[in-house]
């Protein structure tokens, strides 16, 4: 029963997210709306971590497998990809490397400025 209850909560949030997306014509995927709702629910204490942890962790563990069917769908789009293959690889590589640097540099910059103004606390980013 425990697993069924947990699954029901997760499926419930998924469906409510979809309903909201359709009803409000939102340009955001229903599953993402469901995720945000569950996140809010957890922070507000409406849903307890122990009420969903078992099924959530299970779903996240098998996450990779879930994408295989969609990926195999590529076999239907070979022609579209084939002609632009080299451009695709270049776009992916260049945007990855530059974005990596932009995020890293920005994070370092903001952190240093904060450290400089706010009484130079030499705080190590400890996990707590």
């Amino acid at each position: 029963m425990k697993i069924l209850q947990q699954l029901l909560i997760i499926l419930g949030f998924t469906f409510v997210g979809k309903v909201l997306q359709v009803a409000l014509h939102l340009p955001i995927p229903g599953s993402v709306i469901g995720m945000v709702l569950l996140f809010v629910g957890l922070t507000r204490g409406w849903v307890k971590e122990s009420q969903i942890a078992l099924v959530s962790d299970y779903l996240l563990e098998i996450l990779s497998v879930l994408f295989i069917p969609a990926g195999v769908g590529l076999m239907m789009y070979f022609d579209l990809v084939k002609n632009s293959f080299v451009s695709l690889v270049i776009i992916l590589l260049v945007s990855f490397v530059t974005s990596l640097l932009v995020v890293g540099r920005t994070a370092q910059f903001v952190k240093k400025r904060q450290g400089g103004t706010a009484k130079a606390s030499k705080e190590e980013p400890a996990i707590d």
Binding site: M35, L38, F67, P69, G71, M75, I91, V97, S99, L100
Partner: protein, 235 residues
Amino acid sequence: MIDYLSKEPIFGVILTIVVFMFFRMLGNKFQWKWLNPLAFSILAIILFLNMTGISYDNYYVGAKYVDMFIGPATVALALPLYRSLPLIKKHAASIMISVGIGTIFNILMVLLLSAMFKLKEPLMLSLVPKSVTTAIAMDLSTQIGGVAAITVLSVITTGVLAPLCAEPILKMFGIDDPMAQGLALGTTSHAIGTSKAMEMGEVQGAMSGLAIGIAGIATVILAPILTNLVDVLIG
């Protein structure tokens, strides 16, 4: 006979799981970092279906039940995000600013390069969500007019770039702060980047993990706006 049996729903499910487990075990056994089980499973199954002459439709009779759980799994991503809440609160400014700017830059870069290479529009739109976690990327792709299958492949390719080249690049450009390294990896290469970040250290791993969720939400909100904007500007 093959046609009849491959329409059996269990066939698609078993094929999906068996092939994935095979590559996962292979990668673990030989410690091959480049062997991404998802990418190899997809290619192997495409090859298998082509060789046996089984159609995608037949495979999907069963595979759709695997597909179906992407939605609930996306919702479940709320849990790791919730678990990292203390960390998010502590470094709110650095996280929000760097992930936000990075997401905007990333999307614009994809649109700009796609325009330069004169990519067809559905292809371009399929690439826009390539840095976020597959679950979110797929849905978003369909939403803005892309092709989910191409998005999945671009997400995986982007992810695999992280273990291949991220560490030397970060070092070369003086990004040595563990927090910055983690945020950079999670924002640009989702869960695969995060597994690389975990290898680099505990702080990197945690930061990368929470960046996945934040970058995902930021991309969902920003992608439609930015694609429209660029569309208006470039035409």
